[in-house]
Amino acid sequence: MAKVLLVDDAAFMRMRCAKVLTKLGHTVVEAENGAQAVDMFEREKPELTLLDITMPEMDGIEALKAIKTRDPAAKIAMVSAMGQQSMVLDAIKAGAADFVLKPFDEERLVAAVSKLLA
């Protein structure tokens, strides 16, 4: 089982997502903005990072780039709402491995996480 860093400024979304991940047996660490995510990534060395795009302080795209600079092999999936296609494209270019669209159904999230951790 893996350690997953969950980054979202909305506590509700973190809670919801963490439940699914915990149920799968993963350990979840959380951050609520991009800047915290970068810190947390360095401290916790998660195997997978789920990164929200729209966040205060430092948005998901910037955080993605910052994390990728520190660890080019970092596995990061973006969490995005509908209508943020161009952001997701930017993220993929910057090295995001996958993306999950909100509101996500559990099945999709599980599939994405399993695929990335495989």
Partner: protein
């Protein structure tokens, strides 16, 4: 329909987080909307913040399945998105509509708690909001049947050795969304998903992307092409499948002549080439085909050099990737087919939602076997394979160019129930009392010490404990503090609405939002401030015409400012209106019978202005809709004083009026004057104290059998506290918690010293004097609620823990002053009636 029971997809613990977060975001939204109206779309941080708030709300409400809320937040978000991209100017009607949206969201949020659908209709609101946003240009769809044959759904590999065998027929399904359908896109999506169960939806009009983006109109036709999984009689299954989707009528199900190539072209596995075409298909449910396509192209770059793709990289980046057409990537990589195919499958199928349909050779060396139709060359592609984890800089070259980011300074927050903080505060209070007792015991032990070293150790420990508990008390106190912003945040909206209502433009300035105060105070000062703001807007600020006539700016200025001064929080509500006319006030007060004409004439200006706080006084000529509904300044003053605060007013005719409210930082600690009566210490809240003075016994007058003194030309009725509390003790209700013996229960005036002390106190505009034995001094006291023992003790409102741990009753000035007045009218009780 209103009244319908609702269910939401969230566990109770999730719901708590959802609710508090949603409330937070709505609060932020309404505040920021007002800032937006004020500042315009120049502050990009504000634009981002406000968009985020709507965005978060949309995400969370969607996640719990609150469709109406998600629908409305989506409309709000769309407007804010365009505003933040400066494609939509900020206008007052827009802000109006957005604010109405937030109001409606609050109602919808309540549904989460009530679980009953509210009567609120959001369709008009959504329509209004959607009308603000310019609809994105709808990409013209090719007419079915007239499809451009040069771009088949599944491209035949150029120079194909074998023709793909037909695997299944293609069905065209036409359905109409009901004209009265509220969420046509949802219905269209349901159709799409239902058909996906029968096979692969190779294409749809509108496209699945448009459907998911909500670009489906009610009453629209939806056409889908279905490649069934099996060759069974699919036509017979389509209609029943779609029957489960509400508000959709199937118009036609027709077989199409075209076939879909689902099998790879036959090519010998050992054929070598250096240029390959890889065809990739997307899952029908793939949500962002462009993003997947980009992943594919980037991954193909690890197999070799990407020479071309269809759609082109530019199209992919522009998001123009149809989910129902294959992505063709031309890769330059020397090797046998088997190896390339295996590598392609291995690399590409790690990407979710895509499959490699086939890999086929298209050329040897730089020589193309046949040009890939409409594929554009990509000379800029990397000549060497790059590891997939390296961010490819394809266009902007910024990929990995981000330096280390500074560490986050964001405080890490935890939500705590207020009740827990209160409990903590209480426990700390207990601890302080025990600490003081422990110190006393330690002191006694030290005196009779058999073991001076041990005694010293105990003393030292007690000292340490004292320090720790003091710090603890400070910390707990601080944790209960909130910035006054939590109170102020609702005012801009209120002021805006009031200003609109009375038709006076108001420039509302808020200062000192960060000023912290205890939550107990924060919870209670809102109403008095609202009343003051209403008063300023309604009575203070003149109409725009009148302002123009006296040369003032058309917009009245109302300033709300908070700051700390010593241990108080000071709140100013100030306007630049016409001020208070003292003569008008005096006349009014006389006509209302509040005082005589002679008394009015004697009043100083300050005293005259203070008349507005007199009960039954209302300056408004006619009772307006906004303030003056019988609730006057006297209520404001009473409420402020109940919080151990005070209110003063300064005014200058023609220049404006300023109300200043002073409140303790916390209700748990107050400043008090300590007095001694019959050997017991009592605390009088300093906010009630007018002055303390020493009087000679001879100065005492007896007027109508009641003690009184003349103070500054006025008669101050007096009350002997000794008598009041003597009665308490004589009826078996001790007035002190320390169990000290009380003073003599009789009113033996002879024993009293020649000099006495009078504390002049005030409640509202009523004054009285309390006769005490001694003045002990001013001190900060920690208020403890009293037990049942004291609950019925008249004249005592609580207990104070003094520095030495002693508990001093806090005098209830309101009750004591009523006593004095009752006595004055000769209707009550003997106490206080001193000869």
């Amino acid at each position: 329909m209103s009244g319908q029971p609702l269910t939401f997809d969230a566990t109770p613990d999730e719901m708590v987080v959802f609710l508090s977060e949603a409330e937070e975001q709505m609060e932020l939204l309404s505040q920021d909307l007002l800032r937006l109206e004020h500042e315009g779309d120049t502050n990009s941080e504000l634009l981002q913040e406000i968009f985020r708030a709507a965005h978060t709300l949309k995400g969370s409400s969607g996640a719990i399945g609150h469709q109406r809320m998600a629908h409305l937040t989506h409309a709000v978000e769309s407007v804010l998105d365009q505003v933040r991209h400066h494609t939509l100017p900020v206008t007052t009607p827009m802000i109006d509509l957005l604010l109405q949206g937030v109001d409606a969201l609050r109602v919808l949020l309540e549904e989460v708690t009530t679980l009953v659908e509210s009567a609120i209709a959001i369709d008009d609101l959504c329509t209004g909001l959607n009308a603000l946003t310019t609809p994105p240009p709808v990409v013209a769809q090719p007419v079915p049947g007239k499809r451009d044959e040069s771009r088949p759904y599944i491209a035949q590999p150029p120079g194909a050795v074998a023709t793909a065998a037909p695997s299944a027929a293609l069905w065209r399904v036409e359905a109409q969304i009901a004209p009265e359908c509220l969420l046509p896109a949802v219905r269209a999506l349901q159709v799409l998903l239902a058909l996906s169960g029968l096979g692969t939806v190779t294409r749809s009009e509108p496209t699945s992307e448009m459907i998911e983006a909500g670009q489906v109109a009610a009453g629209a036709n939806v056409t889908l092409w279905l490649a069934p999984h099996s060759a069974d009689d699919v036509a017979a299954q389509i209609a029943p499948t779609l029957a489960s989707v509400l508000e959709v009528t199937v118009q036609a199900i027709t077989p199409e002549g075209h076939t879909v190539a689902a099998t790879p072209p036959v090519v010998p596995g050992d054929q070598t080439a250096s240029l390959w075409q890889i065809a990739i298909t997307f899952n029908a449910r793939c949500q962002l085909p462009a993003a997947r396509a980009l992943q594919v192209v980037l991954t193909c770059a690890t197999l070799g050099t990407v020479a071309a793709s269809q759609p082109t990289l530019e199209e992919i980046e522009a998001g123009q990737v149809p989910v129902d057409q294959p992505l063709l990537v031309t890769v330059s990589a020397p090797g046998p087919l088997d190896a390339i195919t295996a590598a392609a499958h291995a690399a590409i199928e790690r990407i979710p939602e895509v499959q490699v349909a086939y890999v086929t050779p298209v050329g040897v060396g730089a020589q193309l076997i046949a040009p890939a139709s409409s594929a554009t060359p990509m000379p800029s592609a990397s000549p060497t394979p790059s590891p997939v984890s390296t961010p490819l800089s394809i266009k902007d070259g910024e990929g990995a160019g981000v330096g280390p980011t500074p560490a986050s300074h964001a405080p890490r927050m935890v939500r705590i129930d207020v009740e827990r903080l209160d409990a903590l505060m209480n426990l700390v209070g207990e601890l302080v009392i025990d600490r003081t007792r422990l110190a006393r015991i330690s002191g006694k032990l030290g005196q009779m010490a058999h073991d001076p070293v041990l005694a010293e150790e105990l003393t030292e420990t007690c000292r340490h404990l004292a320090r720790i508990s003091d710090d603890l008390q400070d910390e707990v106190m601080r944790s209960r503090m909130l910035p006054i912003e939590s109170v102020f945040s609702k005012f801009p909206r209120l002021v805006r609405d009031l200003a609109q209502k009375v038709g006076k433009p108001i420039d509302f300035i808020v200062e000192g939002k960060d000023t912290e105060l205890d939550r107990s105070v924060a919870e209670q000062i809102g109403d008095p401030i609202i009343h003051l703001l209403r008063n300023s807007i309604d009575h203070g600020v003149e109409s725009a015409e009148r302002r123009a006539a006296v040369g003032k700016a058309p917009a009245g200025q109302v300033r709300l400012a908070a700051r700390h001064e010593e241990n108080q929080i000071v709140i100013d509500v100030e306007d630049d209106g016409h001020g208070i006319d003292i003569e008008v006030i005096k006349q009014k007060a006389v006509s209302k019978g509040i005082l005589s004409a002679e008394a009015a004439a004697r009043l100083s200006d300050r005293e005259a202005v203070d008349l507005i706080f007199a009960s039954g006084f209302s300056t408004a000529e006619q009772i307006s809709d906004i303030s003056g509904r019988g609730v006057g300044m006297d209520i404001v003053r009473t409420n402020v004083e109940r919080l151990n605060g005070s209110i003063t007013v300064e005014t200058e005719v023609g220049q404006g009026t300023r109300f200043t409210v002073r409140l303790p930082l916390t209700l748990a600690i107050i400043r008090a004057l300590l007095v001694e009566v019959a050997g017991q210490t009592y605390a009088i809240p300093l906010t009630s104290v007018v002055e303390a003075l020493r009087i000679e016994r001879e100065a005492l007058r007896s007027i109508n059998g009641r003690a009184a003194i003349a103070l500054r030309g006025q008669v101050l009725p007096l009350l002997h506290l000794r008598d009041v509390f003597a009665e308490l003790t004589s009826t078996g209700r001790p007035a002190a918690g320390t169990g000290r013996p009380q003073g003599s229960p009789t009113g033996d005036t002879a024993e009293r010293a020649a000099r006495q002390f009078v504390v002049a106190v005030r409640w509202g505009e009523r004054r009285g004097g309390l006769i005490v034995d001694a003045l002990v001094g001013e001190q900060e006291i920690v208020i403890k609620p009293l037990g049942n023992l004291f609950r019925s003790a008249q004249g005592v409102s609580g207990g104070a823990v003094l520095g030495d741990g002693q508990v001093a009753p806090i005098l209830d000035i309101a009750t004591l002053i009523k006593h004095i007045i009752a006595t004055d009218r000769g209707t009550a009780v003997s106490q206080g009636a001193v000869a």
